[in-house]
């Protein structure tokens, strides 16, 4: 495992990339500790992929600096390429070739001998449960299989830093969980993983530190705990049986949760956004509030406690929701 003097796998300062008039990446500062999973969270078009492409030496920055394990991504691009691996929609495998052929091809390009490349390809396919599909062209793979072969192709030689650009976008929950298992196994062996995602729960599950990116800028950075504390612990959604009880329920909840309670357009629905309080879980507080409601004789038909969604994180951090981004 590689440990640089700074202990940082990635360090950027004021990284900028412009496409015509658009500043896709507008002064990004990142510090990714080696040996961890670092999450870069943001909506479509926030600049996540552009940032990753610059770090993987695929795009030249227009401003600022970026170092990967102490190597400059422009001046020492070749050293960087020797340490990193990349998986994304744009850095995939050859659809016309079979699973085995793809892995042997990349193994050979990485310098493995013919026999060693075949051997490693076979092992990887078996490990990833793709032995049955090994002789099939990748274009016939399902979404989950496709993502597995993409990741397998990225660890033909164990990289020191693995970029996973939206590895679970478009996957069903089961395949997504499996990708998560793979990521955990990879990082457990000492590889640093830089993961970009649109999903807060994915960053939550995998990453130890998270940077939230919006419009090409880092708008929040910290550990999961710090980040969540800044947006609150989640939201409680309630539906009452009797609309006439809503005013009373509103009072009870405000006192019990010490939170802002909103009346929804639906005459029986209420929503409360919980603040993060260390040492007091959101679920405990919600349970106490429910007990208070029943003591007051208010019947609750439906109750749910949601984690803060990416939309809520964005709303809290930027004052606009993620959908605005897509057009930008």
């Amino acid at each position: 495992m590689s440990t640089q003097a700074s202990g940082l796998a990635v360090e950027t300062a004021g990284l900028v990339k412009t496409f015509g008039e658009t500043r896709a990446v507008d002064g990004v500062d990142l510090a990714v500790p080696a040996g961890t999973v670092y999450g870069v969270l943001g909506p479509n078009g926030a600049g996540k992929t552009t940032t990753v492409k610059m770090l993987a030496t695929l795009l030249r920055p227009d401003g600022g600096e970026a170092h990967v394990f102490g190597h400059d991504v422009v001046r020492e691009a070749d050293e960087v390429r020797g340490r990193v691996s990349l998986t994304g929609q744009y850095a995939s495998v050859d659809e016309d070739l079979t699973g085995t052929e793809n892995l042997v091809l990349l193994g050979r390009l990485l310098g493995h001998g013919k026999k060693a490349a075949r051997h490693r390809a076979g092992q990887l396919l078996e490990t990833f449960g793709l032995t049955d599909a090994a002789a099939k062209q990748v274009k016939h793979y399902s979404g989950g299989m496709r993502r597995r072969i993409d990741i397998a192709a990225s660890i033909l030689s164990t990289p020191d830093l693995l970029f996973l650009d939206e590895p679970t976008t478009g996957l069903d929950p089961r395949s997504r969980n499996q990708v998560w298992d793979i990521v955990r196994a990879v990082v457990a062996q000492g590889t640093t993983v830089l993961l970009t995602t649109q999903y807060l729960d994915e960053a939550d599950q995998l990453a130890s530190r998270i940077a939230v990116i919006d419009k090409g800028r880092v708008i929040a950075e910290g550990t999961k705990g710090e980040l969540k504390a800044s947006v609150g612990a989640g939201s409680v959604h309630l539906r009452l049986r009797d609309p006439d009880q809503r005013a009373e329920a509103h009072q009870v909840l405000r006192t019990a949760l010490a939170a802002e309670v909103q009346l929804e357009p639906d005459p029986v629905a209420l929503t409360a956004r919980l603040a993060a309080e260390p040492g007091d879980g959101a679920a405990d507080r919600a349970a106490r509030a429910l007990a208070e409601l029943s003591r007051a004789g208010i019947t609750v038909d439906n109750f749910s406690l949601g984690q803060p969604s990416l939309d809520e994180v964005f709303l809290a951090l930027t004052g606009h929701d993620t959908k605005d981004e897509v057009a930008a």
């Binding site: 495992m1 993987a56 030496t57 695929l58 030249r60 390429r81 020797g82 990349l86 994304g88 929609q89 744009y90 850095a91 995939s92 495998v93 050859d94 659809e95 016309d96 070739l97 079979t98 052929e101 091809l105 990349l106 050979r108 390009l109 990485l110 310098g111 493995h112 001998g113 092992q123 078996e126 490990t127 990833f128 449960g129 793709l130 032995t131 049955d132 062209q137 399902s142 979404g143 989950g144 299989m145 597995r148 192709a153 660890i155 030689s157 164990t158 020191d160 069903d172 089961r174 395949s175 969980n177 499996q178 298992d181 793979i182 955990r184 196994a185 990879v186 062996q189 000492g190 590889t191």
Partner: protein, 283 residues
């Protein structure tokens, strides 16, 4: 830790074995960096695998050249040389040059498709000799050009073509044609990287290749053309190449034309090779 899943079509997908994954990841040392020759040949192998999986692409290098040969021999033969069998002695090397140079343009299309399909950036992120991906395309294409040449010569021989240079002359002609095509193809790798869609690569290629191949000595002696056109035709790289290949196959040694062809090839490589690599690195 193991998980079981099923794909959309209901078939069980074997679980990911995280224990053996951990064992695979333990080795961290990388093999020595492969040579530029080795990586270029590996990319060439990829091109051959693609021919194996998508044999339809050989249609361009078999049916298309045969069609050209039959069409032009019988269409113009009687009018231009008295009979098709007379004309084929003159026109076959020319049509061979024209057809192979025409099919070089598919190189740009395949580069563009790779970018679109998303395998390209993985290659670009590898620590290897930078031009090897491009050289690999061209090595695979050299095989396609060889197939096209073999097919056309076989059909030509059946139609009565009798090369005076024998096997040696024919092979020398094909070798020169392959060298020229390899160098010329860097124009297409450039367009493949530069233009946005497969369609635009195709139409730009057509606009270059049609005038270039037809305005040459492939079909007729340039002396029958108006003076201003002769000025262009006599200096076209295709004219030099066709004259050289025709001469070699006929058993002459057209040193001047061979030198001109190689000179043009060198020029194409020196100009479009670096431009291609610049685009490849900056893409």
């Amino acid at each position: 830790m193991t998980t079981v899943t099923s794909t959309e079509d209901g078939k069980e997908l074997a679980p990911v074995r995280t224990e053996s994954l951990a064992a695979l990841l333990v080795t961290r040392e990388r093999p020595p960096r492969p040579s530029s020759l080795s990586t270029s040949l590996t990319f060439g192998w990829r091109a051959i695998l693609k021919i194996k999986h998508v044999p339809e692409q050989l249609f361009d290098v078999t049916a298309f050249p045969i069609m050209n040969l039959l069409m032009f021999t019988y269409l113009f033969g009687g009018a231009l040389a008295g009979s098709p069998s007379e004309y084929i002695q003159f026109v076959l090397p020319g049509i061979l040059v024209m057809s192979v140079v025409m099919i070089t343009m598919y190189t740009g299309v395949s580069v563009n498709i790779d970018i679109e399909k998303g395998v390209f950036d993985r290659f670009r992120s590898l620590p290897i000799w930078r031009p090897s991906a491009m050289v690999g395309y061209l090595l695979g294409d050299a095989l396609r050009y060889t197939i096209a040449s073999a097919v056309m010569l076989t059909v030509g021989l059946a139609l009565g073509y009798r090369p005076g240079g024998g096997i040696g002359g024919v092979l020398a002609g094909i070798a020169l044609l392959l060298v020229f095509s390899f160098a010329f193809s860097w124009i297409w790798t450039m367009f493949g990287l530069m233009l946005r869609t497969e369609k635009s690569v195709m139409s730009v290629s057509m606009m270059v290749i049609f005038p270039l191949t037809f305005l040459s000595n492939v079909f007729v002696d340039p002396r029958t053309m108006p003076g201003w056109l002769q000025a262009f035709v006599n200096n076209s790289p295709i004219t030099h190449l066709a004259a050289a290949v025709r001469g070699l196959m006929a058993g002459d040694w057209p040193a001047g034309e061979v030198a001109w062809s190689l000179g043009w090839a060198g020029l194409f490589l020196l100009v479009f090779g670096p431009v291609t690599m610049r685009l490849y690195n900056r893409k």
